[in-house]
Amino acid sequence: MLNWLYNHLWATRLKKAVTVLAVVAVVTAAGIVVPRNVGGPDTCADGVEKHGGECIGINGSGYDFGTSAIGRVSDAIAEENRRIDGRPHITVALMLPLQPESDAEREQLRSDVQGAYLGQYRANRAEERPLIRLVLANPGRNYGQQERVVDELAKLADSTKHNLRAVTGFNLSLRNTVDAVDRLTNELNIPVLISRASADELANDEGSTAKPRFKGLARVIPTNRQQAEALAAFHGGLPDEKTVLVKDTRPDDIYVDSLARAFSRDEKGPPGAKDQEFVSPSINDPGETGNDFTLIGHNICRSPANVVYFAGRPVHLRLFAIKLAEVSCHGKRYKIVSGSGAATLDRYMSDADWKKLQGDAGAKEAAVTVQYTAPAHPSAWSRELSGEKERPAYLTEPQEELEELRRLAQRQGAGDIGPVDLDDSRTMLVHDGMRTIAKAVFMANAQSPGAVPPRERVSAQWPRLESAHRVAGTSGWVCLTNAGNPYDKPVAVVELDPRTRRLAFAGLGWPERRPQPKDCVVPSGTG
C-alpha cells in the first residue's frame, strides 16, 4: 500500500509537485472551509474561545481574560469556587466586557469584579444553603458577542452540575445589553439582576397593569430617570431659564437617551435656552465634537443659564467642560450636571484639563464644576448622619453594611484581591447585587424541595425583597417593587471641584423627593 502510494504520488518530481499542490489545495480549502463550518476557534482557557480577536466565554477557574488587573481577584474567585466544589451550590454569572482597552476601564473592571467576589464571599459565609459559585462571562467589547455567551449561559442554567440561577453585572446601557437581558429573561427564564447599568430601557415600567418588559429582572441601581429626579430634587426648583440641556443624539445609546429624557422635565418659570444637540461618533471617541462644544459654549454664554444639564458620555463631558471653561464669558461660573456615568470623569482628566476647569488662578470659585449623581458614595452615610440627632435605619443599616465591607476589604479577610477602591461606587453596587441575589436564592431554597431551587422560584422572590425582607445594601436599602426596581433608592450627589480635584459628596438625593419609608415598605401604586 505504501509502495503503491509512493509510486503513484512521490516517485518523480512531477508527481511530487502534483501531490504537493493537491495537498496544499486540500489543506488550504480545509483551512478555509473547516473553521467556517466546524468553527474550530482557538481556545483561550477552559470554556473561553477566541472569536474576532477577543476571548469570549465563561470561566470560573481563575482565567483573567488577559486583563492582569483582575488577575488576583479572579484567582480568589477560583479559590472560593474550588472550596465549595462538591457541596450543593448554584452559579451566578458576572457578565461584563472583561477585556477593556484603557487602564481607567481596567481599574473600573477590577472594582466590579471585586464587588462580585466580596458579595460571593460574604454570602457563602452566611451559613445559608446553597452556596454560590461565581463565574466571569465576557460578552466582548460593547457586548458585541453576547449571543455566544448567552448560549453558553443557557447551557449552564440547564446543567444540574452548574445550576446557573442568576446573571448579574451589565455595566453599559447598550442595544446589545438590552438584547442580552431580553433573551436571558424572556426566552431562557434566567433571573437577571442589573447592578450597574442605569438606562431606563433596562428596567421594567412601574404600574400594576403594565406587562413587564423583562420577566424576572431586578435592579439595584436607580434608573437615569430616577437619578435625574433625585438630582432635580436635590437642586430644588431651579427656574427653567437658569438651565440648559446639552444632549448627544447618537442613536442606540440608551443611557444618553434616558438621561436626556430625565433632564427634559418641565421646569417652572420663564423658558430658557433651547436644547443644544450634538452627535458624537462613539462612546469613547470625541471626534469633531470639540468644535460643536465651543460654539455651544458661545451660545450658552449669551443665555442666562448657568446650570448645564449634560446628557452625554464622560469622554464628551470632559471635552465639553474644557471648552465651556475656555469660552471667556465675563467670569461666568457654570455648574454642569450629568448622570452617574460621569463618575468615571476624573479618570479621563489630565493636569492641564483640571487647570482649565479651574479658570483664573486667583478666582475664588472654579470656572466650571461638575455635579452628577453617583449611585453610591462611601462617605454618604457618615456625612448624612453627622450632626443629625435622628439616626434613621435607612442611614444606619447601610452604614453598618459598608463598614463591614470596608473592614473585609482592608484586612484582606477575603484574600488578596488587589487594591480596593470604594470611591467609584462600583464595588459597593455589584456587591449589593450579589447580596440581593443570595438573599433571593436562600429564600427560594427555603420554599422548595431539593438542595437547589429552580430558576422560576428565584425570580419569584424579587418582589418579596422589601419591608421585612429588604436587603440592607452598602449603597442603601434595596426594596424591590413588583417591577423589580429599587424603590426610592438614594443617590449620592457628588461634585467634582477642579481646585481640590476630589469628588466631594454634596448630599443624598431621593428619587421620590423624600427618604425611604420606615422599614422600606413599598407603598401601593408603585407597582
Binding site: 509512493y6 509510486n7 512521490w10 516517485a11 518523480t12 518530481r13 512531477l14 508527481k15
Partner: protein, 731 residues
C-alpha cells in the same frame, strides 16, 4: 530455482543495482551512485553463476520502475535479421533497433522514450545501399517507421507533420525512378519536416560525426557511406548509432519534462555480452565515456572471464591493476572512479569498467534451496513422511555433497538439489558424491522427457551449451570428450601428453595450452594442481570419462598413459606435482587401480630403505600419491580401502614396513577422497600408524611425530591434508 536466489545483497534497497538505477525493487527513490560519468558494469562469473538470471531479475523487478531494455547478444535473431539484408543491416543495428523498440514501449513514469536521433541514423543506413533498387531501399527505410517519435519531436503540428512525412515517404515510392539517390531524397524529406527542436537535436548529434563539420546532413551521409564501406568504417558507424541511442535516452531524461516526470536511471542489460556483438556494443560505450561523452544509461553486461574480457585491456600487464573489481561479499558498495590522465583511445577501456563478481551461494542459501527443492512446501506429503530415522543424517550427507560439488555455483546447487529431491538415501555412511551425480532428473524444458543423470544434464548446461566463442567449429563435437580426458591431468604438460595421444589422426588439433585459454575464456577457474580447475566440473568430467567405454577403460587408459609417461622419465626427476616423476607415476598407477605398485613405490622410497630420501619429502610424496582419484566407487565395486586401512583386509604380502605403509596409504587415500563422508574412526589411527613407522631407528622420526600431530589437527577440522586452490573454499 527462485529467481533472485543469492542476489539479495545486489538487489536489496541499498544494494548496487538499486543505487545505480536510483530505484529500489519497490520503486522507492535512492540517491544515485556515481555520475555523471558512469562505469559499464560487467557481471563476471563462469557458467552457471546466474549472470543472465540476474539480468532477467533486474529487467523484471526494476523494469517496472525504470526503463530497462534487455538484449541477448547471443540470440540468433540478430544475426538472422542482419543476414537478410547484409548491406543495410548488421547485428548491431538489429540489437539497437530492438533496444529502441523497448525504450519506445516503456509505459512507466515519463512515458515512452523517443529515439529520433537513432531513427535518423538507421534511416540513413537503410537508404544507403547504392546498388539496391529504390523499392527495396524504401522498404528498408519504412521498416523503421515504428521508431518514429510521435508528437513532440516533430514540434508544433504534431501528428499532422508526422503523417505528412510518412505520406512523403510513400510518394517517393510512387515517383520511380528517383531523380536523386534514395538517401538524398529521404534526408531531404526528413530535414524539411523536422521541427526546429528536432533539427537542433540532429545537429548536436550528427554534426559531431567525423567529417560532418557541424552539418547533420553531411554527418548522416558520411555515416551511411561508412556503413556501406564495411570493416572499420562500419564499426565506426555502428558505434555512432549506439551513441545516438544513448543521446536520445539522455535527452529524454535531461529535458524539462524528463526531469520532472522521470526518476532514476534507464538501464541497458546485455546478456552474453562477451561475444563479438557484445564487444561491438560495449567498446564504443567505453570509448565514448572515456572521451567525455557521458550519459546516464546504466549498462549491465555479462562476461564469463573474471577480468571482464580481453578486449578491455591494451597490454595485460600494465592495465590489470587499473580495473575496479568488487563482489557483493566484499560488503558496502564498490568504489569506482575513472583514473585521470592518459589519452582517450590509447588507455585501456578497462578504466571505464566496473567488474562485479557474481556471488556464490553461502552454505545456508544452498541448504535452503535444497530444502525447498526437496519438497518442504510440497504439501502434506512431506509431513506424513516425517522425520524417519536416518533422514536427518541423509539430509546432512546430501547437503555436504552438494556443497562440495557445487562450490556455491547456483546452477550446480539447483540441479543437484533437483536430483537430491528424487533420491532416497538408504545408508548415509556409504553415500558418495558419485551417487548424487547419478541421481535422475528431468530436464526443465522437457517435462515429459526421460530422466537423465543430473551429471549429464549439468555437463550439457555448463559445457555443451556454452562452448567457448573461439573454439573452432570442427572441434565442437569433441570438446566435451577432450575435457573428459583432461580431467585426469594436472599440469599443462600432462594435458598436452594426453591431447597428443587422444587427437591422433585428426587434422585439426588443439594444444592443451589453447584449451586452458579457452577454459579461462569460458570463465572456469584455474588451479595449479588440476588442469580442470573447478572441482565440480572435474568430477562431472571424471564421471563421464569413466562411463566412456566399458568398465572405466578410458579412465584407466588415460591414467596408464600418464603413468607410462612419468615412469619413462628418470625416477628421481623432479616433478611439480608429486615431488618425483616416479611418485607422479605412482599417483596415476594408483588411480588406474595399481594399489600394490603405489605401495611398493612408497615402501621403496621410505628413508629406511632409500637413505637418499628425507622423511618430509616422503610424507609429501605419500599425500601426492594418495590424492589420486579412486575409480572403485564410480564402478560400483566393493571399496576395500576402509578394511585395508584398519588392517582388517590383509595386503598382498610384504614385510612389516610394507604392511604398515599399506595401511597408512589407504587411510590417507580414503580421507583425501572427499567424495564420501570422513570416517572419524579412521583418522584416529594415524598417529599410531605414523608412530609405528618410526619403530625402527630411521632418520626423521621427529618428522613423523610432527606430521602425525598436524594431520590429526587437520582431520579434526575435516580439512584436506593437502589443500588446493580449487578446494580451499570448500574445506
Amino acid at each position: 530455482m527462485s529467481d533472485d536466489l543469492g542476489f539479495s545483497k545486489l538487489l536489496d534497497d541499498d544494494g548496487l543495482v538499486a543505487r545505480l538505477l536510483g530505484k529500489t525493487l519497490k520503486g522507492r527513490n535512492r540517491p544515485l551512485l556515481y555520475g555523471p560519468d558512469l562505469p559499464v558494469v560487467f557481471l563476471t562469473g563462469g557458467p552457471g553463476m546466474g549472470k543472465g538470471r540476474l539480468l532477467r531479475c533486474v529487467r523484471d523487478e526494476f523494469g517496472r520502475h525504470v526503463p530497462a531494455v534487455h538484449a541477448d547478444c547471443a540470440a540468433p535473431a540478430h544475426a538472422e535479421r542482419a543476414g537478410q539484408h547484409p548491406s543495410t543491416r548488421s547485428e548491431v543495428t538489429e540489437a539497437l533497433r530492438e533496444m529502441a523498440v523497448q525504450f519506445g514501449a516503456w509505459g512507466g513514469d515519463g512515458g515512452p522514450i523517443a529515439v529520433p536521433r537513432l531513427y535518423a541514423g538507421l534511416v540513413a543506413v537503410a537508404a544507403g545501399d547504392p546498388l539496391a533498387g529504390s523499392a527495396t531501399g524504401l522498404e528498408e527505410v519504412r521498416r523503421h517507421d515504428d521508431l518514429l517519435p510521435r508528437g513532440s519531436f516533430w514540434g508544433g503540428v504534431l501528428h499532422r507533420a508526422f503523417r505528412h512525412y510518412l505520406a512523403a515517404l510513400a510518394a517517393l515510392l510512387a515517383a520511380q525512378p528517383l531523380a536523386t539517390p534514395l538517401i538524398t531524397a529521404i534526408l531531404d524529406e526528413l530535414f524539411e519536416r523536422v521541427s526546429s527542436e528536432g533539427k537542433a537535436a540532429l545537429e548536436d548529434c550528427y554534426g559531431a560525426y567525423s567529417g560532418a563539420a557541424g552539418h547533420p546532413r553531411l554527418g548522416l551521409h558520411a555515416l551511411s557511406v561508412d556503413f556501406q564501406q564495411g570493416g572499420e568504417g562500419r564499426a565506426n558507424a555502428e558505434s555512432f548509432l549506439f551513441r545516438a541511442l544513448r543521446e536520445d535516452v539522455e535527452a529524454a531524461y535531461a529535458s524539462v519534462r524528463g526531469r520532472m516526470a522521470r526518476a532514476g536511471r534507464p538501464a541497458v542489460l546485455l546478456d552474453h555480452a562477451d561475444n563479438a556483438l557484445g564487444r561491438r556494443l560495449l567498446r564504443p560505450v567505453l570509448l565514448d565515456r572515456e572521451s567525455g561523452h557521458h550519459d546516464r544509461v546504466v549498462v549491465f553486461a555479462t562476461a564469463r572471464r573474471a577480468d571482464g574480457g580481453r578486449f578491455l585491456y591494451r597490454s595485460t600487464d600494465a592495465d590489470a591493476e587499473a580495473v575496479a573489481a568488487w563482489g557483493p561479499a566484499d560488503g558496502g558498495l564498490p568504489v569506482w572512479r575513472r583514473a585521470q590522465g592518459g589519452v582517450p583511445g590509447l588507455v585501456a577501456p578497462a578504466r571505464g569498467a566496473l567488474l562485479v563478481r557474481m556471488p556464490t551461494l553461502t552454505t545456508e542459501q544452498q541448504n535452503n534451496e535444497v530444502a525447498r527443492l526437496r519438497g518442504h512446501g510440497r504439501g502434506s506429503g512431506a509431513g506424513t513422511l516425517g522425520h524417519q530415522p536416518g533422514e536427518h543424517a541423509s539430509r546432512l550427507r546430501v547437503e555436504s555433497g552438494i556443497h562440495r560439488l557445487s562450490g556455491g555455483r547456483p546452477r550446480f546447487v539447483a540441479r543437484l538439489g533437483e536430483g537430491a529431491a528424487s533420491l532416497r538415501v538408504r545408508d548415509p555412511a556409504a553415500f558418495t558424491d558419485w551417487d548424487l551425480l547419478d541421481a535422475p532428473v528431468r530436464a526443465g524444458d522437457e517435462p515429459e522427457g526421460r530422466p537423465v543423470p543430473v551429471a549429464d544434464l549439468l555437463l550439457d548446461d555448463l559445457i555443451t551449451r556454452q562452448l567457448p566463442e573461439e573454439l573452432p567449429p570442427e572441434q565442437h563435437d569433441h570438446w566435451l570428450d577432450l575435457l573428459g580426458h583432461l580431467s585426469v591431468a594436472h599440469t599443462g604438460n600432462c594435458a598436452q601428453k594426453l591431447l597428443l595421444a587422444r587427437q591422433e589422426g585428426r587434422d585439426e588439433r588443439l594444444s592443451a595450452y589453447r584449451v586452458a585459454e579457452l577454459l579461462a575464456d569460458s570463465g572456469w577457474p584455474h588451479c595449479p594442481r588440476h588442469f580442470i580447475g573447478d572441482r565440480g566440473l572435474r568430477h562431472l568430467l571424471m564421471r563421464r570419462l569413466y562411463r566412456t567405454g566399458q568398465h572405466g577403460d578410458a579412465w584407466r587408459a588415460d591414467h596408464e598413459l600418464l603413468r607410462d609417461h612419468f615412469a619413462g622419465l628418470f625416477p628421481s626427476a623432479p616433478d611439480d606435482q608429486c615431488g618425483t616423476a616416479a611418485a607422479h607415476a605412482a599417483h596415476h598407477h594408483l588411480a588406474a587401480g595399481g594399489v600394490e605398485a603405489a605401495v611398493d613405490h612408497l615402501t621403496r622410497a621410505f628413508p629406511l630403505r632409500d637413505a637418499t630420501r628425507g622423511m618430509a619429502e616422503w610424507c609429501e610424496e605419500l599425500l601426492a600419491i594418495a590424492g589420486a582419484p579412486c575409480a572403485v566407487p564410480l564402478g560400483g565395486g566393493t571399496d576395500d580401502r576402509h578394511a585395508r586401512a584398519l588392517g582388517e583386509a590383509p595386503p598382498a604380502g610384504g614385510d612389516w614396513l610394507r604392511r604398515r605403509i599399506d595401511r597408512l596409504l589407504h587411510a590417507v587415500w580414503l580421507y583425501e577422497d572427499r567424495t564420501r563422508p570422513v570416517d572419524q574412526a579412521l583418522t584416529g589411527t594415524w598417529r599410531q600408524l605414523l608412530d609405528r613407522l618410526g619403530d625402527e631407528p630411521v632418520p626423521g622420526t621427529e618428522v613423523l611425530t610432527r606430521k602425525a600431530g598436524e594431520w590429526a589437527q587437520l582431520a579434526q577440522e575435516r580439512q584436506p591434508l593437502k589443500p588446493c586452490t580449487c578446494t580451499r573454499h570448500l574445506g
